[in-house]
Symmetry: C2
Amino acid sequence: MIDYQIFKNIAKHVSLSTNEVQHFASLLFVRDVQKKELILKQEQICRSIYFVEEGSLRGFNLNDDGKECTLMFAVRDWWITDMNCFINQKAAILSIEALEASKIIELTFDALEGLYKSNPKFERLFRILFQNAYSREQVRALHNISLKTEKRYYKFADKYPAIMKKVTQKQIASYLGVTPEFLSTIKKSKHS
Amino acid sequence: MIDYQIFKNIAKHVSLSTNEVQHFASLLFVRDVQKKELILKQEQICRSIYFVEEGSLRGFNLNDDGKECTLMFAVRDWWITDMNCFINQKAAILSIEALEASKIIELTFDALEGLYKSNPKFERLFRILFQNAYSREQVRALHNISLKTEKRYYKFADKYPAIMKKVTQKQIASYLGVTPEFLSTIKKSKHS
DNA sequence: CGTCTATTTGAATGTACTCAAAAGCGGTGG
DNA sequence: CCACCGCTTTTGAGTACATTCAAATAGACG
């Protein structure tokens, strides 16, 4: 297990001793999920943060009108959770589904709180992960309010080629907050 | 200085000894800025994170077409920076201006990196601040892509009454990513 | 091969923008 | 204290962006 991608991901930010790695590993749950399986269901308490060891996931919200909004994708080497519900341990706004057969690694809220207490390296690790996540969301918010859909689409496609390979156009449309029909017409018109 | 709001803010998340508070305080720069003064200028390296001790700030981007987009407001007891540029120590995308005469507290990147190394409590503190910031941005992203402008406006007004008192309608429009003219027509139509 | 879903296309409608002009408001100087 | 100036807000007409609904086509999968 110690040759898993998750340890390479961590090693980018902090260096752990063999013992620390072992302890961390002992807290993880590795799960193989199949395509379309839900790792987290909306309304359910969000008890864990997830790492994509292999495969791909999508976090989305289904509203009262039946409209799906994709908030995030996660491919190999990415972390994902419904952050707001995770940190407050309350009912999730998002569902998270597998886009294909995937291997995911689960770290529960309680285990993570224990890690924070037992070893400041984990405070550091997640401080870095969260600061990076916040930074990305801040840039995304700027793009959302300042750019036209067409430009946002091509920026997304440029920035995340690994995601483009895994997802349908309908899912990208729901990530951009437009209808699949409109995204279709955008792609047809000649682009920059 | 130790009765400043910033220490109450920190005490919500970690408890520091008198010595730790003193050390932290020794790293801070307190500045009085006047209305319209720029704390951070776009294109300039973003070297610090700021805390609003008193007053209010606005972070915005000015694009090539001369269009201003407000990414965030900060009132008393809030932290603000151009996160992406702060953590990479590169040219800022945002300018930050004072909306009124304000007292702000500046913590530089280098000082903060020193704090992380010297005392894990600061890793914890900023881990919590960043996770909360990320959580808020995630919710905001969902609202941006799923809700109509009208609903976003009233949600914002409900959630941040302290900000509503300080900012113009034009600035709110630029935060929502719509024109001031359009926001004006929204307010006129009868609302939910 | 047949079924289910994704994608495309088009017409009609709604949402939001641009441009222009008028009205309102706050601050400054005489 | 009033008059003027600059900026914000409002209003309206015309246009562009994006949605809804419906139907046709194309792909994916068992």
